[in-house]
């Protein structure tokens, strides 16, 4: 179940909250597929139905790629992926900024919305998402996934806050961007990123309860705070950014271990402040080098966890030390 407090807060603040059950779209597509065998007619009928029910049309090229890859149109997940993103985009353009997606069933590429300018959007996804969730994301608001995410979570993201209640398999925040208008996507992963968290990241903040092998790979900016178990071979080829991880974490070539300084406590505090509500952090304002213990929980149903930052190390590029 999704974190009740966050959900309540989300709904309380929602004057307009659009709920989209992806199974409804699957049912439309399946029904057409069961009645029509010609893929071109399938595509036309699906498009007509999507236009009638949701006011969106799919680009014609999807027709060809679906036939090529999946033999027909009705069984192609690419159709569902594109339909969801088109519907979300339309909803946002129409001024609704809170969306709940039901039954994602690990669909790939949800949330690639293609807005050039930052958009206002809060999103809850009830279930697992697939590869590249929120890739290129550029939004103000909070996106919550009540499930797992796969590769490339928030890949090349610019702005926004994403919370994953489960795992992210690898490359969370890959290529996270800092630009003159953005500081990167901030991400919280409650069960941990299995491998290569913040790979090639240029900005943003990632707080994760576990970070696997080669996290911080080629990292050039941003902050990775690992509150899980010590990781292995962190920071291969890193040229910038900072990783905080429990003692026992090992490093790869190109990275060095350093002790935390006064400035690091400020960085950690600011990193955690982004997720202060989601992690129920107690007395974050009092956190400092003299008072290095953090009390928080990543699950309202679990006990408070305590972290003494004196037990953490900092990993930085060799060149900057």
């Amino acid at each position: 179940m999704i974190n009740k407090l966050i959900e309540a807060q989300f709904k309380k603040n929602s004057k307009m909250c659009y709920t989209l059950d992806i199974d409804e779209i699957r049912a439309i597509v399946k029904d057409i597929g069961s009645r029509v065998s010609n893929p071109i007619t399938q595509f036309e009928n699906i498009n007509n139905s999507l236009e009638k029910n949701y006011g969106v049309k799919l680009p014609y090229g999807l027709n060809q790629v679906s036939i090529e890859k999946f033999g027909d149109v009705a069984s192609s997940p690419l159709i569902i992926e594109r339909a969801i993103n088109s519907i979300m985009k339309k909803i946002i353009v129409e001024g609704e900024t809170k969306i709940v997606l039901k039954n994602p069933k690990a669909l790939y590429r949800i949330g690639i919305l293609g807005f050039e300018d930052t958009v206002k959007l809060d999103l809850i996804v009830e279930g697992n998402v697939g590869n590249f969730f929120g890739a290129f994301c550029n939004f103000d608001g909070t996106w919550i996934v009540d499930g797992n995410a796969e590769n490339g979570l928030a890949d090349k993201g610019y702005k926004g806050k994403i919370i994953i209640n489960g795992f992210a398999t690898e490359l969370a925040c890959q290529n996270n961007q800092t630009t003159n208008f953005s500081s990167g996507v901030n991400v919280l992963i409650k069960k941990g990123c299995m491998e290569r968290a913040m790979g090639q990241a240029r900005g943003g903040k990632l707080v994760t309860f576990g970070a696997g092998y080669n996290s911080g790979l080629y990292m050039s900016g941003g902050v990775l705070l690992n509150l899980g178990l010590p990781g292995e071979m962190f920071g291969p080829g890193m040229v910038g950014g900072i990783i905080y991880s429990p003692e026992g974490t090992t490093i790869a070539e190109g990275a060095v271990i350093a002790k935390l300084t006064l400035e690091d406590y400020s960085i950690i505090k600011e990193t955690l402040r982004v997720f202060e509500n989601e992690l129920f952090i107690e007395a974050l304002d009092n956190f400092s080098m003299e008072n290095p213990t953090l009390s928080l929980t990543n699950n309202i149903n679990k006990n408070i966890q305590k972290f003494n930052m004196h037990d953490f190390i900092k990993i930085v590029p060799k060149t900057t030390n």
Binding site: K69, S75, A106, N151, T169
Partner: protein, 299 residues
């Protein structure tokens, strides 16, 4: 971006459980990753010939085009030619040699306790043709291929097996960048190759190692040491299922456990995508396999 998966039952003496149905669901959930071909290998299926000394020579033969030929199957038929145990080894070798010279034939390998089926197209096409969802056994592996290094045809589909040693099957995601070198070394030893896919070298390499010292752990360790490139593979023999990753862990390999219950057996599942574990309820002890290591389950 291939998709691989494997399942092994905790208690291996459950002959009525359709492991094929689980593999099908895991493959279907990863279908978006790859659509060129699909294949599975299931072990200890309980077929009559499992317990005798005869075995099958599996190969594809290209049938002449008919109105029934579809692009999904590419006009290939999978043949399981039964080889009696009494047939002299020399005759068997001659048969393989003769078939390998036939352009319309693509050899897969020998099997006794393994049922291996593969074809071009989607997993639903494979199921339609071979009813994989009804297949029973103690463990099995599945593969969805998107072609990168060799053409799309049944001979390049996974799982790969060999005529070097019966009942070995491998599914692979990634690239073996020193494939030519490894293949040449094995060919010098006299081992035949039947495809142009880099993944075949894993099966032949493991078979060679098993023939030399019979230790699957050592075989995997040797492969990790000698192979270059990004790879994760799942290898199965009648007595083992292994998940193996390259030393940098550059391709995913995730494992989880389902404790069973309500008449369903407990099992370990491994896959490329987490969603494939989730769909079969293997949500306990979920973790990525360690880079440069092999994770082996034996029965």
């Amino acid at each position: 971006m291939c998709g691989i998966c494997g399942i092994i039952l905790k208690d291996h003496d459950n002959p009525n459980f359709s492991i094929g149905a689980l593999l099908y669901r895991m493959m279907e959930s990863q279908q978006v990753r790859a659509q060129d071909s699909a294949g599975i290998a299931i072990f200890n299926t309980g077929d009559a010939h499992c317990n005798d000394l005869s075995y099958n020579l599996n190969y594809f033969i290209k049938s002449p085009p008919t109105s029934m030929t579809t692009t999904a199957t590419g006009g290939y038929e999978l043949i399981e030619e039964k080889i009696p145990a009494s047939k002299p080894i020399k005759e068997q070798s001659l048969l393989v040699s003769k078939l390998s010279k036939d352009d319309s034939v693509s050899i897969i390998g020998y099997s006794n306790k393994m049922k291996l089926v593969k074809n071009m197209g989607l997993v639903k096409d494979l199921d339609k043709k071979y009813n994989i969802r009804s297949m029973k056994g103690s463990h099995g592996i599945g593969h969805l291929r998107i072609a990168t290094s060799s053409k799309v045809d049944p001979g390049n589909a996974h799982p790969f097996s060999t005529t070097v040693l019966p009942d070995i099957a491998v599914v692979h995601n990634g690239e073996i960048t020193n494939y030519s070198k490894l293949r040449n070394l094995l060919e010098i030893k006299g081992y035949p190759f039947y495809s142009s896919c880099d993944s075949e070298v894993i099966a032949v390499f493991l078979a060679d190692q098993l023939l030399m010292h019979g230790d699957i752990q050592r075989a995997h360790d040797q492969f990790i040491r000698k192979a270059d490139g990004p790879f994760t593979y799942i290898a199965a023999t009648p007595h083992s299922l292994s998940l193996v990753r390259d030393k940098f862990g550059t391709r995913k390999g995730i494992i989880g456990y389902n404790r069973g219950g309500e008449g369903n057996p407990a099992f370990w599942a491994m896959a490329t995508d987490l969603s494939a574990l989730d769909i079969v309820g293997a949500n306990e002890d979920v973790k990525a396999a360690s880079p440069g290591k092999s994770l082996i389950f034996t029965i």
